[in-house]
């Protein structure tokens, strides 16, 4: 081809500046700017350019763009070119548009016109160009224009093979971008039959399309299973030369094979026995062929062959039902663990991770432990070591936990900084999950802090506190160990935090030993105080006040410390406030009060381990699968009696200080001074335990709560996924409300075009809105790890049933994200409690005796029937609770008025629990019929 000889000439002609070596970067930029100015003047000039010159200059622009310079003109000329009848002009026009897409809708309309003509041209070359352009741009506008036409082209009997191929993948791209625009229909059945097409290229393109479509419409495409199996079977059993040009380095159709195996992973194992038999045969053939000597020494041969092997293993793991195949797969991967190709070792480690979670192959994977540990120690490539660490984590169980944990701890000392945090999390989880004795667990975590204190996140050290608090048998040991650890001359701040908390709670358990007498404990902790951050110092202040209760003999010393100017007049409000309050508490309160207020923390409620949740967030769902999977290790009795699938909450030890503050139920007034993110919301039953939704992205975890959760409470986490956490705090007075929404970016990447808006459900738009919601705008960008706040002012104009919706849209890493949530505003938020005597109550009850004014529901209890909890929920619901009204003391009676701008609705309610039947009867009477029903439904969900 002459292309080569032309290079030199073209090179000089395009940019003479480049041909003289030694020219600087500035010279290049100068030359390019000159050229750009020239092209611009040509495009703007009075003389109309002929097609050829247009092509030349558009091509130059492309070249300049590809050199890394910005191009902001030339689009119109490109559109002219692609509308041309000359192939070469058309081709360059399409290329320009494909590379430099512009969202200018006017432009897109023009392009769409040209594409439409080309698609209708029946010239396969033109059609392919147009399809490639749609596939390259893939915008929604194009989807709107062509999504309906392309299926037709794809299945038309007279379409050329190359057009079919392009149409299939073009449709795939449009479907990925806007699935709603691609109508399913009669054509889908014909697409499935493309799997039988004679042309391998058509099959190759069609499989990708089907794989994507069947994920959302599995039933429509079910027939593809048997077709895919028979196609696969024909390929796998063919000789290496049968498929001619589709054979790649002696491997028949590797791309198609991999795609077919991927397609099959969208479905469970085939139901039809014959199909299944044929498939198992295929899988066995692939495993057998892996053992055969290679037909070529070229790496391409082994790569193609092993690509099919790995995809086969993925399918075997996906089915997870053929023990024989799983074990064979594991043995095959075992061979790769020591292969000289780094790539194969990497993939074998990765693939074995998933095998480890299958009950059939877990034991087989475990036999490779020594090789994997060796890989962790000797692999030169950090990404391979990381895979090894992942695999160790996945294969860990009770039998090898101590070995694996100690290897991982050793690895941590030299591990790459980038992966330390993850290793720390994994060690912490394994140590907790497989601890046989808790002293080993405590030792492991303290070792973690010692080796990699900087990487021990809050979740990890909160967790050790939770566990120590919940286990009597380890508290003494923990106090002793942490006391010893603190004696190291340089110990990590996290150690001080853990030490402070544990000694504050359980320091008394080691106080008998003169070497760790109360004054020694105090001076040891206080020697670290000045080196610590504000948060740690705040925690230590709480330790000190706890000491005053535990060890009255330290009272004078500690009061001295609290009284010091550096505390009482500390520039930090939190420290100052704690010092002032603790000092006053210690001098004002009697010993009894002190003992009550500063009592030992109650056990933490058992939830999913917060560190496991963190790891899942870090690695995406499935990361914790080895631990979630109860079936693998049924005998396990973990420290925490099993991982429960409830949302987790990080209970912060800072909450500990605040929670220890007041008597149960009372709200300390100074909480009002705290910033919203500081404020936790109280869990009614516990009273003392402060649960704090973490508004700072990445601190806490909670799965998206069902809306009923917010009926009886005003604060909490409204929504959380991998990217975003939305916290809410709200207050209501009469018919007004104010709501603070906190959007936390949990990723390290900036969110763009961030726009949360409040929308009212469609059916209400025609009427007068029942709620007026005023929102303030928030910043369009949310930095990684940052949080923004939005304030909503709400006015209830009249009664309503459907809450407004919160629609949040933003771009994350370029991908548009959107979600819609119900705002936690329900009619009961505008309740004003009304106290009344029994007589008044019954009089009003009788007044509201029309059948439509009453709503009643009898339902089964969904939660334990606890009178205190019920009371708290009713109060949270908003009504007043009236004592001595109902003759049966078990029953609850409440009254209140719903305040709206237009009217007030009086409400009376009665809840009758039946402990024996585990049932409730709830009756509501209000002056407005829909309100009775609505309140009744809302409240009934709560019990």
């Amino acid at each position: 081809l002459p292309a080569r000889e032309r290079n030199g000439m073209r090179f000089n002609c395009l940019f003479p500046a480049f041909s003289s070596p030694g020219k600087s970067k500035e010279a290049e930029i100068k030359r390019i700017n000159k050229e750009l100015a020239n092209i611009r003047s040509k495009f703007k000039g009075d003389k109309a350019l002929d097609g050829y010159s247009k092509k030349k200059y558009v091509c130059k622009l492309l070249f300049i763009f590809l050199l890394g310079h910005d191009i902001d003109f030339g689009h119109m000329e490109a559109v002219n070119l692609l509308s041309s009848n000359k192939y070469t002009e058309k081709q360059i026009g399409y290329l320009f548009i494909s590379v430099l897409v512009n969202s200018n809708s006017e432009l897109i309309r023009l392009i769409n016109n040209a594409i439409k003509n080309d698609l209708a041209s029946r010239n396969p070359t033109f059609m392919c160009l147009a399809l490639h352009c749609i596939a390259n741009v893939g915008s929604r506008e194009m989807g709107e224009a062509f999504a309906a036409d392309i299926p037709r082209i794809l299945v038309a009997g007279d379409s050329m093979d190359s057009v079919k191929q392009s149409a299939a993948l073009c449709l795939l791209r449009l479907y990925k971008a806007s699935p709603d625009l691609v109508p399913m229909g009669e054509w889908t059945a014909r697409v499935v039959h493309l799997l039988n097409d004679q042309h391998m290229g058509v099959v190759t393109a069609a499989v990708s399309l089907i794989t994507c479509l069947c994920k959302k419409n599995p039933d429509d495409f079910k027939t593809c299973i048997s077709l895919a199996v028979s196609r696969l079977s024909r390929i796998v059993s063919s000789a290496s030369t049968d498929l001619q040009d589709y054979t790649y380095y002696f491997v028949p159709a590797p791309w198609l094979s991999v795609k077919l195996l991927r397609l099959l992973q969208c479905y469970p194992p085939p139901e039809d026995a014959a199909v299944k038999g044929r498939l198992v045969e295929c899988l066995e053939t692939v495993l057998n062929k892996a053992q055969e000597p290679p037909k070529s020494k070229k790496v391409q041969h082994s790569n193609a062959k092993n690509a099919i092997l790995f995809e086969t293993i993925s399918l075997i793991i996906h089915y997870d039902s053929e023990p024989n195949l799983l074990v064979r797969a594991c043995n095959q991967l075992g061979q790769f663990l020591q292969h000289r190709e780094t790539n194969l070792r990497y993939l074998a480690l990765e693939s074995m991770c998933t095998l480890a979670s299958s009950e059939f192959s877990h034991e087989a994977v475990k036999t490779h432990i020594d090789t994997v540990i060796n890989a962790l120690k000797t692999e030169r490539d950090v990404s391979v070591r990381q895979r090894a660490a992942d695999l160790l984590y996945a294969m860990c169980d009770r039998s090898n936990a101590k070995q694996i944990v100690s290897e991982m701890l050793r690895y941590l000392e030299t591990a790459d900084y980038a992966i330390r945090e993850e290793i720390v999390l994994k060690v912490a989880i394994l140590a907790e999950k497989y601890a046989v004795d808790y002293s080993w667990y405590v030792d492991t975590i303290l070792n973690l802090i010692r080796i990699a204190g900087d990487y021990v996140s809050e979740e990890v050290w909160y967790r050790v506190l939770q566990i120590v608090t919940n286990r009597d048998d380890v508290q003494g040991y923990a106090a002793k160990t942490v006391f010893e650890a603190l004696q190291a001359p340089a110990c990590h701040e996290n150690m001080v935090k853990v030490g402070g908390y544990i000694l504050g709670e359980f320091g008394n358990l080691i106080a008998g030993d003169p070497r760790s007498s109360p004054p020694v404990q105090f001076s040891l902790l206080h020697s670290k105080f000045h080196l610590c951050s504000v948060a740690t110092r705040a925690l230590l202040l709480s330790t000190y006040i706890k000491f005053i209760n535990l060890f009255p003999e330290t009272k004078a010393t500690i009061q001295g410390v609290l009284r010091a100017g550096s505390q009482l007049r500390n520039a930090d409000v939190e420290l100052q406030q704690r010092a002032v309050e603790y000092l006053t508490l210690s001098s004002v309160a009697s010993t009894d009060v002190l003992a009550t207020v500063l009592e030992e923390m109650p056990p933490f409620p058992e939830r999913e381990s917060s560190i496991l949740a963190k790891l899942k967030r870090k690695k995406g769902p499935g990361a914790g699968s080895a631990l979630d999977d109860g079936r693998r290790d049924p005998s396990s009795n973990d420290i925490n009696g099993g991982v429960e699938p409830t949302p987790s909450t990080v209970v912060s030890p800072r909450g500990w200080a605040i929670g220890a503050w007041g008597p149960p139920g009372a709200t300390p007034s100074h909480l009002l001074l705290r910033t919203p993110s500081e404020l936790g919301c109280r869990e009614p039953p516990g009273g003392r335990l402060l649960r704090r939704p973490s508004y700072q992205g990445g601190n806490g975890d909670s799965s998206p709560p069902p809306p009923p959760r917010f009926v009886c409470k005003n604060n909490g986490v409204l929504f959380e996924n991998q990217l975003l956490q939305i916290g809410v705090k709200s207050e209501f007075r009469q018919n007004l409300g104010r709501m603070y929404l906190f959007y936390g970016n949990k990723t390290s990447v900036q969110f763009q075009n961030f726009s949360p808006t409040v929308v009212h459900p469609g059916d209400l738009q025609t009427h007068i809105l029942p709620l007026a919601v005023q929102t303030k705008r928030v910043a369009a960008q949310v930095d990684g790890g940052a949080q923004v706040q939005q304030v909503l002012n709400i006015e209830c104009l009249r009664d309503f049933l459907t809450p407004p919706l919160l629609s949040v849209r933003f771009r994350y890493g370029g991908a548009p994200q959107s979600l819609t949530l119900k705002l936690p505003v329900t009619i009961n938020k505008f309740f004003q409690p009304t106290e009344m005597a029994a007589q008044d109550f019954f009089q009003r009850w009788k007044q509201l005796s029309l059948p439509q004014q009453e709503a009643q529901k009898i339902f089964k209890a969904n939660h334990p029937m606890d009178a205190e909890v019920t009371k708290a929920k009713l109060l949270g619901f908003g009504s007043a609770l009236l004592d001595n009204v109902d003759p049966n003391p078990e029953n609850f009676v409440g009254a209140g008025i719903i305040q709206t701008k237009a009217l007030q609705v009086g409400c009376l309610l009665r809840l009758e629990p039946n402990a024996q039947a585990q049932m409730y009867r709830l009756t509501l009477r209000t002056s407005k019929e829909p309100v009775s029903r609505h309140l009744c439904e809302l409240l009934a969900q709560q019990f």
Binding site: K55, T125, S139, A205, A307, N343, L347, G814
Partner: protein
């Protein structure tokens, strides 16, 4: 596949193909980050790495790095061979391809890529079929004055 980048050992981008919608700013950021990451790796290291929530598969041919970003479910080894097949296609078309061929015949490099991969998926794996399509297009081109030679007018 989400995108494919070709860049030189000096970090100069030679070809870029994006199969997901991204803003120019993001594209530049990703390119910068990946070029740095890949160039920093030593020759014997494995060809795969985790990057954000994607998997990167790369291979070096002479002075050029070919770098693909694939999704979690995708097959790394077959992606390596996608790269190799593309190099073979370029090689066959240009006759022992070099970096300059791709720089100065970038449009051909793009056309060949579009015939081979479309929307991030393999469209046609047969070398013969891909090159036949390109040659047909070249024939159409021969009927009009050659764009390249005419630059020099």
């Amino acid at each position: 596949m989400q995108f494919m980048l070709l860049f030189s050992r000096q970090g100069k981008l030679r070809l870029q193909k994006w199969y997901v919608p991204l803003s120019d700013k993001e594209k530049k950021k990703i390119t910068r980050e990946l070029v740095q990451t890949v160039l920093a790796r030593k020759p014997k290291m494995c060809s795969f790495l985790e990057w954000r929530d994607l998997k990167i598969v790369y291979k070096r041919y002479a002075s050029l790095y070919f770098c693909c970003a694939i999704e979690d479910q995708d097959n790394e080894l077959i992606t390596l061979e996608i790269i190799h097949r593309y190099v073979e296609l370029l090689d066959k078309y240009f006759g022992s391809v070099c970096e300059l061929d791709i720089i100065f015949n970038f449009e051909k490099a793009y056309f060949i890529l579009d015939e081979f991969l479309l929307g991030g998926e393999v469209q046609e794996t047969s070398k013969k079929n891909v090159l036949k399509a390109i040659e047909q297009a070249d024939l159409l081109q021969e009927n009009s004055p050659s764009i390249v030679l005419n630059y020099c007018r």
